[in-house]
Amino acid sequence: MSETTPLVLTGRGLDKRYGHVLAMDGADFELAAGEILAVVGDNGAGKSTLIKSLTGAVVPDAGTIVLDGEEVRFRSPLDARRAGIETVYQELAVAPALDVTQNLYLGREHRMPGVMGTVLRRLDKKRMRQEAADHMADLGIRIQSVRQAVENLSGGQRQAVAVARAAAWGRRVVVMDEPTAALGVRETNQVLDLIQRVRDQGLPVVLISHNIPNVFQVADRIHIHRLGRRAALVRPGTTSMSEVVAVMTGATEASELESAVTDPVLTAAAATAPDAPPTWKDRSA
């Protein structure tokens, strides 16, 4: 990452209140071009609410969101998707009765070539099934058939469908809210590889995860969320796992960590090379 990486997606002072629950309380967020940004935090810290605000699934009560330098106001996930943001929601957002292929291509179906497609608007099911099978294989997920209804899949298979969809369609930002929670060891590694490949293609990725070793393995920066707001933004190279966990849980103050927050003129703070190896390295597979 260069010294002056531009910011792709930022949020400032985001608030969201549900009844008397303050799910977001002046949350800030920044995602730089080409980085993998991990978002970590306790259960109920407000990570999903933050991510939903950034992707149109929730309309924040206050605050601004800027995408590539322009302020945006997403009123629905469709708005965000049109802007090129693709998301894996924690609740997975799959249509249970539809099959794997249909879910992967929902809203973006391929039509047959020629008259069949243009006039009769016929779907090219064969092509979609073929590609869907490839996508799933990419994730190393074994499923019997891409024609299986998603409700009949195992928990991990279902999650893989959502991950494959986001990975396949993201054009500007890919956001994944706990994409590996239900995945096995091998499948998790495959998804982490995929995330890195996506980043290497130049697309920034937001990864929410409770798996700190995984986070340290792939993240360029780590956004620590606590009590509805960002407590710290650090680099895995300069901060240890236990420091991150301490801030997450409130055991230490965030101010004790070296911050990686970009200053307002969009220049990144001096960064340690992100390819410094993570401190933990026992990915048994």
Binding site: A57, S76, P77, L78, A80, R81, R82, T87, Y89, E91, L92, A93, V94, A95, P96, A97, L98, Q102, N103, Y105, L106, G107, E109, R111, L120, R121, R122, L123, K125, R165
Partner: protein
């Protein structure tokens, strides 16, 4: 799809065999053609109802919209140009469908209440327009759907053909186009559909609009069959269409089912009604029998499904 059809088809087969054995008139070509003709109006309406039920909605105004269509077409055709009349009839039905769709999709109100409301409004409007009078159809063009070639003693009406063609077209749209997938997705889980970036309200609106147009086709079929625009006709059409849809295996909770089942469901209802009359069952007992048999058909469907699953 074919597996989903097994239950309703089996129920239909049982009914047909039973009536063939117990009456000597049921299998007459003329009577078989009659059953088909009697299925056409409810069957066509039920295609629109299927669409709406697939999105976890319900349309209580289906019959009222169709009746408005018949009355508009019959009266205007009597007063002037048939084609203009048909056009206005279609416009009227489409408009009513659009109103339903707008209220359901935009304001997010329960379809049951919305269509119950529009039902009363449309029925009242129809009465105002007709002053409760009926308008006989004189034009041969409008009677076309009730006529057709006679093959071996059985009249195959153009209305029957149109119904089945429409079912095919709708089946195509539901299973072979992106729109169809979205209809299923919206009915299956509106929340998930919204999160994946589907314009749920636009899909809903389109469904009610298309249903309105299908009801207009049903209005034409009705005029072909009963050549009169009668504001007091088809009072039980709503319940009948919902029955056909549910017997056909489409879930009232949305997202599961399809038009092929609905066609079979409409046929089952017609076969029961016709067959019981052929068998000379007293009309009161006929009602009892239809009630019991409808439950039996759905139960049978469940049974077949369970078999197929394991």
């Amino acid at each position: 799809m074919s597996r989903q059809l097994a239950g309703p088809l089996a129920a239909l087969a049982v009914a047909v065999v039973a009536f063939s054995l117990t009456t000597d008139t049921f299998l007459n070509p003329a009577n078989v053609s009659l059953v088909l003709q009697q299925s056409v109006v409810i069957g066509t309406l039920a295609l629109g109802q299927t669409l709406i039920i697939l999105t976890a909605g319900i349309d209580l105004s289906a019959g009222a919209i169709m009746v408005l269509g018949t009355v508009l077409i019959a009266r205007l055709a009597g007063e002037g140009n048939v084609l203009v009349a048909v056009l206005i009839g279609f416009l009227g039905c489409a408009l009513m469908g659009a109103v339903n769709g707008l209220v359901v999709a935009r304001w997010n109100l329960p379809p049951f209440i919305v269509t119950l409301g529009t039902l009363t409004v449309i029925a009242a409007a129809t009465r105002l327009y007709t002053s409760s009078a009926s308008y006989p159809v004189t034009s041969d063009v409008l009677r076309l759907l009730g006529s057709g070639p006679v093959v071996g003693g059985a009249k195959i009406t153009y209305g029957t053909m149109l119904w089945l063609l429409l079912a095919l077209a709708l089946g195509y749209a539901l299973t072979q186009t992106a729109w169809g997938t979205r209809v299923y997705a919206v009915g299956d889980s509106p929340h998930a559909a919204r999160l994946t970036g589907i314009k749920v309200s636009r899909v809903l609106f389109s469904v009610y609009l298309v249903a309105g147009l299908i009801y207009a086709v049903a209005a034409l079929a009705a005029l072909g069959r009963t050549p009169i625009g009668d504001p007091s006709g088809y009072q039980t059409a709503n319940l009948d269409t919902i029955t056909a849809v549910v017997i056909g295996g489409t879930s009232l909770f949305g997202g599961r089912g399809g038009v092929a089942g609905t066609v079979v469901g409409a046929l089952i209802v017609s076969v029961l009604q016709n067959g019981l009359t052929q068998a000379g069952i007293d009309s009161l007992y006929q009602q009892v029998a239809v009630g019991v048999l409808v439950i039996a058909a759905v139960g049978f469907d469940q049974l077949v499904r369970r078999r197929n699953k394991s």
